[in-house]
Structures are given as structure tokens and as C-alpha cells.
């Protein structure tokens, strides 16, 4: 699932391999601009530091499509896969 925007290719965080780093471009909590839970989780992710433009490194993911372990702004977070699927990043060039 690749999407193109003005800056380049953005992919869901879940497509990053272990150890890869990306820059957050957007969070799509679904349901358009619906407030309620969608808004709550988008806000929560941002409150934890995952705002657009932030560097995020995938350390590893738990087996059998488990959650992702990511490093963001110096803290270590566990993100459920469903959540991580909605975070779009631009892959960093090596």
C-alpha cells in the first residue's frame, strides 16, 4: 500500500523492516474527520510524540503480526499493529 504525496513515497509504518527509520507524514485514524475515538487515538499517538515530521525507528515487531516496538523522541513505545498500520511514514534514504 503505497501512497504518493508532494514530497515522495509514504508507506505505513508496518512496512518498515526491523531497524529501519522513517519520518512520520500523517496519521489516518480512519472515519475522515470524525471525532470520537478516531480523534482520541490520533491525538494520543501525537501526545506520545508521533507528530508529522518526527523520526521513528522500528526496533522490531512481535511474532505472528504482533505489535511493533518503536523508538520515538527518545522513548520506547509498543504500538498495536492495527494502530501502526495507520501511521504513514516516508522512508529515510540510506
Amino acid at each position: 500500500m503505497e501512497r504518493r504525496n508532494s514530497k515522495g513515497i509514504e508507506v505505513p509504518l508496518t512496512t518498515l523492516r526491523d531497524g529501519e527509520t522513517g519520518i512520520v507524514t500523517s496519521i489516518r485514524a480512519g472515519h475522515g474527520r470524525g471525532r470520537g475515538r478516531g480523534w482520541g487515538f490520533e491525538k494520543r499517538l501525537m501526545d506520545m510524540g508521533l507528530t508529522p515530521g518526527t523520526k521513528v525507528t522500528v526496533v522490531k515487531s512481535a511474532p505472528f503480526h504482533g505489535p511493533l516496538e518503536v523508538l520515538v523522541r527518545g522513548s520506547r513505545l509498543a504500538l498495536g499493529r492495527g494502530m501502526a498500520d495507520r501511521i504513514f511514514v516516508e522512508k529515510e534514504k540510506e
Binding site: 527518545g74 520506547r76 513505545l77 504500538l79 499493529r81
Partner: protein, 645 residues
């Protein structure tokens, strides 16, 4: 100088050592209750210092001051409405940027504050050096470096707090400045908000309106709906300018400010070798090795709790039962004596012999694991499995507690984010075979049929939990939530804090469970004394005998089991006059009986916990559902087993 009363609030992210500082400040003078009408904990304590009587309020650990959770809402309302004399913002030096994001929101609330820059030791180990003076200058707020776990800096922190209160704040905190386009609109909105009376500062209200804060929107539209519609218009303008939603823009820019301050005051020197905590993390969350380590640790935990518990429980009950002659000499052996001993005292004994030997070590280990950081790793490993029943990783923790005792497990469901998930997790938890049910499973099926059959019952139980969990997840309205959890660095837990938390949980358990256990055992004793047991057993016989194929007296034992599940087995032995169940029950009867005992009702203490957390309606629903379910499963099992035998 007369004794003045002061109020100090502690605020900060979760796992930054807030409660350790709280314990240092208040010592033994503290109590934990709930915020009025909420299931959020409120810890308060008092302290005497320099002629002041200081009330310390420990606010919940949160990451933001929006309305994502009840905890956040309560915290910001408390600071804005109750106006503590000062807020001590506990900041984790090892994750400075994200912690400062919260600090900036406190600044926006315009409360007098001081910063405790905690966990300086962990930061150092990670290779982070912080220039405290520079941080102080950049924030415009006094900063005191602390290592709470060793008690370093606590006195200075308190002194500074008092000094600020006495001087009536000479400090001028930095203004959180957003981009020009945003600032312009905040200013516009602030002017409008200034005209209405509100307990939040006008600029704060303006910012939160642009962030789309539902609670503030609601309150403002009650007084002046014009403001909300203007805010909506401005929001769209910002959105068009930036290409991101307005809340995104504001949060990003606030983080930008936090990042600037963090970068300006910290220096990163990479440590030569990864700290031991880092290596431990890698192993304990490893794709393959992580699971056996988890299984082993949990087995070890439960094994030691049960061994210790069994031993101490027996000692205690032997001790108490030696008091029986004393009581019968006091109240006689007639009805009054029987009621006092068999109803009240035995109830108390039952409660004590569960609470002390099992619950206490249980909580000590639990808090030890939580504080060290291992529980969050377990939640990470189990997230995927928990999703199969519609919950996420954190729910594994109450579920696991359930294998010890359902009561703390139900209370432990508070770690879930939404009301819906708390209820789902609690429901699933009540189906978990606790220590008492383990006694039945192993003591009856394991002993007289074989361990492999006992194991099969456990597996069957797990299947039921998954199936019913999924069913409940499908039927309850609302959206599922996902795991968003911080895994803080491994650290040594603070023993005193662990012990204190254990103590509060114990008193909580006593308050919830004891009254109902005593009332329950008194009621059953009354039934017994008035000779109603036999009639009740025969009334129940259509179910017990005809449907389940069990002896009629099991009806009585199942009633007793409501008090404590293991009583079903003890009473069975008493009523049948033998502990050699192999002689009086067929293997099929044993399995059916155990199945029913496993599911049929949460014990009375668990019901009390359910009522407290979710109200009596939901508690009643769960109870009735489980009775019906257990009887159905038992009857079906009886027929299937008879056919295949």
C-alpha cells in the same frame, strides 16, 4: 507565624517516579481513595514542614492534558478549579523531550510550578547529560535535579516549592509560542473568551478549542455558542494553510518547542557499551526466547505464591480454629454460638486466610514486576493473543492475576483505557480459574482421574475464555482500541513504594471483600441452622440430579461455594463423609462437578469487586449469565461424556 495550610500537587508522565517522590514526602501519613464518583485513584498525604501543614495530592500519571482519558480530564480540572498552591512537575530526565511536552501544557494552564528533574542516574547511564541551569533558564521555571529512589534532592525540592509559594512566584515561565498563523488565531479567540467566566485561563481555552477539545467545546457553547463556531472557522483556516488537521498542527508545534528546549539543555554522549537494562530488554522481548522466559517467570511467580500461601494459610487457620473453644465458652454452643462462630468468625477467618497468605505476596510481586518494567514487556509479547479475544496486550495482566485471585484481577482492569474494555476484561477475568478453583480441579479431577484430565479442563477453560471474550467483544457496542504503551527502561523498583502499594491494595481488598464474605457466611449459617439446607437441596435437584447427573447434596456445596470456591470441595467431603471421592463419585460426575464449579458464579468477593467497578446491574448480569452458562456446559458435558464413555 500561625500554621498555614498548603496544597501541593504532583503531576507528570507515568513511570517517572512520581509515587516514589510522593512516598518520600508523605511517609506514612497518606491515604488512597477515589476521585469523587470516578474509578480513578486519588492518593493524598500530609506533611509538616517549616510550620506549614502541607497536603500533597498525587495526580495520575498522564502524557497530556487533553480529554483522551478520565485521568487527564481529572488532572487538569483539579489544577484549574482547586488551584493547588504549587504543582511539582516530575520530569523523567532520560526522556526529556516527551516529558517537557507535558510541562508546556502545565505552563499553559498558568499554574505556579517547580520541576523535579528525576531519574538523573538513569539518564546518565543512557549517556544523557542535562544542564539544569540552562533548562531552568529556557523554561523560566525552577528545576531541581533528583534521584527519588535514593532520596536525593527531595528536601531541596520541597524547600524550593515553599520558597516559590512564599515569594508569590517571581519566576516567569516561557510562553509556549506557536507559529504565526496559529498565534494570530489564538489571540483572536482569546479576546472572545476573555468575556466569559471560566475556570481555565482564556489563552488555554482558546488553544484547546482549536485543538477540538470536546469537553471545553461543550462548556463554552453553553455560555456563548458564537465562540465555538468562530473556533471551528479558524480551525479550518489553519487546516487549509498547513495541510494537516488543526489539532495536529498545534500538537506538532508544541512538540517543536519542547524539542528545542530539550536539545538546548541536554548533551548526548553515547555510552561505550549498552547498559545492562538494554540487553535485558532485548532478551525479554525477543521473538523466540521472550516467550519461554515469560512462561518460566510466571510459573515461578505462581508456584512460589501458592507454596508460600498454602503453608501460611494452614498455619493461620490452625491458629484461629484453636480459638473455637474460647468462643463457644463465651456464646455457648446453641444457635447464638453457632451463628457467631460459624457465621461471623468463620467468615473472618476465611477472609484472613485468603487475604494474608495469598494476596499480600501476590501484590508485592506484581508491583515489583510492574515497577521494574517487566509487565509492560509481557503486555507487548501477549498483545497479539489478546487481540484474538478483542482486547489488547495490557489486558493480559488482569487475566494473569485472575489465576491467583479474581478480586485484584477485576480491580486491575483499571489499566485498560476505556470503560468498555475495562468491562470486557473484567468479564473474561471472572472466568479464569483462580487459586480456589485450582484446588478443586487438582484436588478432584487431578487426584482421582488423572493430571492429564485436569490439564484438559484448563485448556477447555482457555477455549471458553477466548470464545466468550470474542462473543462479548462482538456484542458490546463501541470501537476496539489498540495498544499504545510506553516501555520504560528497566530499573530497580523502590522497595518502600512497592510495600506501600501492597498495603493499600490489601486494605482495599479488606474493605471490598470482608463485609460481603461475612454477611454471606452468616446468611448461609442461618439457612443451615434453620434446617433449610435439605429442602433447598431437593428444590435444586431437578438441576443437579436430573440435568447434571450429580448427587443432590452437590446443590448445597455449590451454594457454599459462592463464599469461597474451594468450599465446594470441602463441603462435599463433609457431607459425603469421606475425602476419598473416588468411592462416592463417578469420574464423569467429578468432571461435571468441576466444570460447574469452575464457571458457575464469581465468588462473593469478586461480585463485590464487580459491583464497585461497574455497578450492580452489570455485576448481576455477569453473575446470572455465568450461572446459566455453567449449568448448560455441565449438562452437555455430562451427556457427551456418558455417550462416549
Amino acid at each position: 507565624m500561625t500554621k498555614r495550610k498548603l496544597v501541593i500537587a504532583l503531576a507528570g508522565n507515568a513511570n517517572v517516579g512520581k509515587s516514589v517522590i510522593f512516598n518520600h514526602l508523605t511517609g506514612l501519613h497518606q491515604h488512597i481513595g477515589n476521585w469523587p464518583g470516578k474509578t480513578v485513584e486519588r492518593a493524598e498525604g500530609t506533611l509538616h514542614f517549616k510550620g506549614y501543614t502541607i497536603d500533597i495530592v498525587d495526580l495520575p500519571g498522564i502524557y497530556s492534558l487533553s480529554t483522551y482519558s478520565l485521568e487527564e480530564l481529572i488532572s487538569r480540572k483539579y489544577i484549574a478549579v482547586e488551584r493547588p498552591d504549587i504543582v511539582i512537575n516530575v520530569v523523567d530526565a532520560s526522556v526529556l523531550e516527551r516529558n517537557l511536552f507535558f510541562t508546556l501544557q502545565l505552563i499553559e494552564l498558568e499554574t505556579p510550578m517547580v520541576i523535579a528533574l528525576n531519574q538523573m542516574d538513569i539518564a546518565k547511564k543512557k549517556g544523557i547529560e542535562i544542564d539544569t541551569e540552562k533548562l531552568e533558564k529556557l523554561l523560566g521555571i525552577p528545576v531541581i535535579p533528583t534521584v527519588a529512589i535514593k532520596g536525593i534532592g527531595i528536601f531541596q525540592l520541597l524547600e524550593k516549592a515553599i520558597e516559590i509559594i512564599e515569594k508569590r512566584s517571581s519566576a516567569k515561565p516561557v510562553k509556549v509560542k506557536y507559529g504565526e498563523e496559529v498565534e494570530e488565531r489564538i489571540a483572536k479567540l482569546t479576546k472572545m473568551v476573555e468575556h466569559i467566566q471560566f475556570y481555565y485561563p482564556p489563552r488555554y481555552v482558546a488553544i484547546k478549542l482549536l485543538e477540538g477539545d470536546e469537553e471545553i467545546e461543550k462548556e463554552v457553547s453553553g455560555t456563548d455558542p458564537q465562540i465555538v463556531s468562530t473556533a471551528k472557522k479558524l480551525e479550518t483556516e489553519i487546516e487549509n494553510l498547513h495541510g494537516h488537521s488543526c489539532p495536529t498542527v498545534i500538537t506538532s508545534e508544541r512538540y517543536e518547542v519542547a524539542g528545542c528546549i530539550a536539545r538546548g539543555s541536554q548533551k548526548l554522549v553515547l555510552p561505550i557499551k549498552p547498559p545492562i537494562g538494554e540487553r535485558l530488554h532485548t532478551i525479554t522481548t525477543h521473538k523466540i526466547v521472550g516467550y519461554p522466559i515469560m512462561a518460566l517467570s510466571l510459573l515461578l511467580v505462581f508456584y512460589s505464591i501458592f507454596t508460600f500461601g498454602d503453608y501460611t494459610s494452614e498455619l493461620l487457620s490452625n491458629f484461629f480454629y484453636r480459638l473455637e473453644p474460647f468462643f463457644s465458652s463465651l456464646f455457648g454452643t446453641e444457635i447464638v454460638g453457632k451463628l457467631v462462630w460459624g457465621g461471623v468468625i468463620e467468615g473472618v477467618i476465611a477472609a484472613i486466610t485468603i487475604a494474608l497468605p495469598y494476596i499480600v505476596p501476590f501484590y508485592i510481586i506484581l508491583y515489583f514486576l510492574e515497577d521494574s518494567g517487566y509487565l509492560s514487556r509481557i503486555a507487548f509479547l501477549m498483545d497479539n493473543a489478546m487481540h484474538k479475544m478483542g482486547l489488547h496486550g495490557k489486558a493480559f495482566i488482569p487475566l494473569m492475576l485472575g489465576y491467583g485471585c479474581n478480586v485484584p484481577a477485576c480491580l486491575g482492569c483499571r489499566i485498560m483505557e476505556t470503560e468498555r474494555e475495562r468491562l470486557l476484561a473484567a468479564f473474561v477475568t471472572t472466568l479464569v480459574p483462580c487459586a480456589a478453583r485450582t484446588v478443586i480441579i487438582l484436588g478432584l479431577v487431578g487426584e482421582f482421574i488423572g493430571v492429564q484430565w485436569a490439564l484438559m479442563l484448563y485448556v477447555f477453560n482457555l477455549l471458553v475464555i477466548f470464545a466468550l471474550g470474542r462473543l462479548a467483544f462482538r456484542t458490546l457496542p463501541g470501537e476496539p482500541t489498540a495498544l499504545i504503551m510506553e516501555m520504560h527502561d528497566y530499573r530497580m523498583p523502590h522497595l518502600k513504594t512497592v510495600l506501600k502499594q501492597t498495603w493499600f491494595r490489601l486494605t482495599e481488598f479488606i474493605k471490598i471483600a470482608f463485609p460481603l464474605i461475612i454477611i454471606g457466611s452468616l446468611a448461609i449459617k442461618l439457612i443451615e441452622v434453620s434446617g433449610l439446607l435439605e429442602p433447598i437441596a431437593s428444590t435444586l435437584s431437578p438441576v443437579t440430579v436430573m440435568w447434571l447427573g450429580l448427587p443432590a447434596i452437590t446443590g448445597i456445596t455449590l451454594i457454599f461455594g459462592v463464599l469461597r470456591k474451594e468450599l465446594t470441595l470441602i463441603m462435599l467431603a463433609t457431607l459425603l463423609g469421606t475425602t476419598n471421592f473416588g468411592q462416592v463419585l463417578t469420574p464423569i460426575q467429578m468432571i461435571v462437578f468441576t466444570l460447574v464449579a469452575m464457571f458457575y458464579i464469581p465468588c462473593i468477593a469478586t461480585i463485590a469487586a464487580l459491583i464497585r467497578e461497574f455497578g450492580w446491574k452489570k455485576a448481576l448480569f455477569i453473575t446470572v449469565f455465568e450461572i446459566v452458562f455453567a449449568i448448560s456446559v455441565g449438562g452437555v458435558a455430562s451427556r457427551v461424556l456418558t455417550l462416549t464413555a
